[in-house]
């Protein structure tokens, strides 16, 4: 099957998550991505041994999934000869992507100025912590930057610790932004022949991630957008989480009289009276007496199972009443829709010689769908072939590069 990004060559000098995942998106859709790693140990992501105090097991999903569909080249950029190889690679590539610290890129003479002089059509992409005009200069990972945005401190019940959106949540967003930025820059290059420098940062991406509440807060400075809000005082009690007998439910119904009446009619006879409670007779009443209404619904909904409520509420779809059980990751792993749409996929894992389940494609393209050809490569497995076939070194020269320590 055809690939959308066929013919595009990307140098991926990245470690950990934000940078690698940006290149993963391009690789999934057919770009040739060459991951360049230090000969000793490679990307630090290869060294992840445990997650949540559990051993990662026999295959390191942290590294292998976000580095899928890539080649691996081991190069010691601390050596002059290693840098010469990189420059030759830059000459023959469309994109240079890195998330290494600026001090490394400076020291190894891999700055935008240097590489653009070698290849003026190059897209020079970085993923950083705080952006190209940052005043904060220090190492960054997504949670420590998510912390600055204000996203974390508004989640959860009042008085509880802040809530992190999940491991890699900010990296994933910054990486996606970088992938989009690279394609924008390539579009411009194809039209004009001009390369440029792009950047996506954890800070910028995660501020944008906060848009659903940050934008409203910026306009109003209303603390309810910025601080923890309790579910027991939901602005619309019909749009809220409720605990059924066996499981939590997410209920999404408009604060409208017809939706409320229809919901009340599904309650047990002992609770159905709240449909006639004058406090709850209007949308304004339901908002003003939200605590009382949430408490009444809490008492009513906990009496029956989630499955029971889902069946009772299904016919209410025409009144725009929707609901879902609050699933676990185990439920998601069995989700028919997630499989049908390739959000979950199976692929062969070389390391363990068996089929494994991985995060699939975030976006579908009907004619050129993303594919998984291989999981992350072994460190340096393609070094010599790239030198020989793509960069034109002969075997004697390759031997000399080894002797100089440029390649392992």
């Amino acid at each position: 099957m055809a690939s959308a990004l066929e013919g595009l060559r990307v140098i991926d000098l990245t470690v950990w998550f934000q940078g690698p995942v940006a290149a993963q998106h391009l690789a999934d859709f057919g770009a040739e991505v060459i991951k360049v790693e230090r000969p000793k140990g490679g990307d630090q992501g290869r060294g992840v041994r445990s997650i949540k105090a559990l051993p990662v097991g026999d295959w390191n999903q942290y590294f292998l999934v976000i580095n899928r569909n890539k080649k691996s080249m081991a190069l010691d950029l601390k050596t002059e000869a290693g840098r010469e190889i990189m420059y030759r690679l830059v000459e023959r590539s469309d994109v240079f992507l890195s998330n290494l610290g600026a001090e490394n890129l400076d020291a190894w003479q891999l700055t935008w100025e240097k590489l653009a002089a070698i290849n003026p059509k190059l897209i020079y992409a970085t993923t950083t912590g705080y952006g190209p005009y940052a005043t904060t200069v220090k190492p960054s990972f997504d949670m420590t930057v998510q912390a600055l945005t204000g996203l974390m401190s508004r989640l959860g019940e009042p008085g509880e610790p802040p809530i992190y959106l999940g491991m890699g949540s900010g990296d994933a967003y910054g990486g996606l932004m970088a992938a989009l930025a690279i394609l924008l820059a390539l579009w411009h290059r194809n039209a004009t022949g001009r390369g440029q420098r792009i950047d996506a940062s954890l800070y910028g991406a995660q501020l944008f991630l906060a848009a659903p509440t940050l934008q409203a807060w910026l306009a109003t400075r209303d603390p309810r957008y910025a601080t923890q809000q309790s579910r027991v005082a939901a602005r619309n009690p019909l749009w809220n989480t409720y605990r059924a007998e066996d499981q939590w439910l997410m209920l999404c119904a408009p604060n409208r009289d017809d939706a409320f009446a229809a919901l009340a009619a599904t309650l047990d006879p002992a609770d159905a009276g709240l449909g006639g409670d004058p406090r709850f007779a209007t949308a304004v009443g339901r908002r003003e007496h939200a605590r009382a209404l949430v408490a009444a619904l809490d008492a009513a909904i906990v009496r029956r199972s989630a499955g029971d409520w889902m069946a009772r509420w299904a016919p209410l779809a025409e009144r725009r009443v929707a609901a879902s059980p609050v699933a676990t990751l185990a439920d998601l792993a069995r989700d028919a829709g997630a499989w049908a749409n390739d959000y979950l996929m199976e692929t062969h894992c070389e390391e363990v010689h068996r089929t494994v389940t991985v995060r699939g494609m975030p976006v579908g393209l009907s004619r050129t769908p993303g594919v998984i050809r291989s999981l992350g490569a072994e460190l340096g497995q393609d070094t010599e072939m790239i030198l020989f076939e793509m960069l034109g070194y002969d075997w004697d020269e390759i031997g000399a590069l080894k002797a100089k320590g440029a390649i392992p």
């Binding site: 559990l54 508004r154 975030p362």
Partner: protein, 400 residues
Amino acid sequence: MPRALAGIRVVDLTVEPWGGIAAALLGDFGADVIRVDGLGPPVAVGPEDERAPGAWNADAALAQRNKRSLGVDLARPAGRELVQALVARADVVLTDRARADLEHLGLDYRTLGAHKPDLIYARGSGFGPKGPDADLPAIDELAAARTGMMPILPQPGRPPVFPGHGQMYTAVMLAFGILTALHHRARTGAGQEVDASLLAGNMYGASLDLQAYLAIGGERMLQPISRLDAGNPMSGTMYTSADGPWVTLTMPDTDRWWPIFAPLVELAVDDPRFDTHDKRCGAHRLEMMRVLEAAFRRRPAAHWRAMFQERQLSADIIESYDFPAADPQVYRNRYLLAIDDPSHGAQTSLGFPIFMSETPARLDAAAPARGQHGAAILHDLLGLSEDAITALRDAGTIAG
């Protein structure tokens, strides 16, 4: 300054804020985005708008910026024909409407793509175009509920948490998918359908937790984990400071950081309980978190921030929205913009999450009023005469 997407025309048939933002991202980089504003009541399915009447509509200012608006009554065949004619002169259609509605309006891919094989037709949905839930409403809360993260975000024993940001991943995925399809079209001439969903957005937001569960499995991955039971005391952790704000650390490769970090929390580098990565993340993990909790409580947040900066540690204080709003580098990077709204004066808005040196994003136009550019669009793109436009307006087919 040149624009990255100069010459690309997008017909924006979205109704949800996140769908609008996907189109606005293309407009930010110079695409000509024509927003088709229906003239009926709003059809968005999210929670109600609670703004004070007449207040600056900040959400629309973000989601509809850099667009022109054509107000059309899509209930009328003549209105739908205008949109179809516009699509014939566009490169991309972007929508987040339900499939049944689009089919009913004749604005589905089968209808529009039949006349235009190079059309890129992007649609955002709740749960993707395939499978049993393809036609469930596109509500971020429902998609988040299905993703499996809500139960494990809070501390143990607390209610599930709706994060609210899955939709923002989806918006960027749509833009990324469109660009990918444009690159394919440039090489082959062929258009195609692009789809992204709120479920996919929430799943990508849950990247590592989800992938770790898929690979490792087990009950621990399905339960909330106490902040003092983290896998690595120095990574992904939160501790209390003396004056209230929370401290957070992410230094996964602890060997690299330990010699700098240990003295900061008044521990000896050779403390036999914690002197190797395996001890810190293994046998003495819980003890180390208790020790760190006590250490961070001894001094105020400002002290810790200064120390983290001085020692160049990946660690910080957990802030609220007032922090970035007052952070100069946020404006220098144009992540936030101070803007002057024509009707509402000085405002602060989200800016641009992507930096480009040659083709930077720009705020060329504030969100349009419904139908603001109808006449110009119909004249310039469809060649309609002034009389024809007046007739459409008099008949109520177009607004303005």
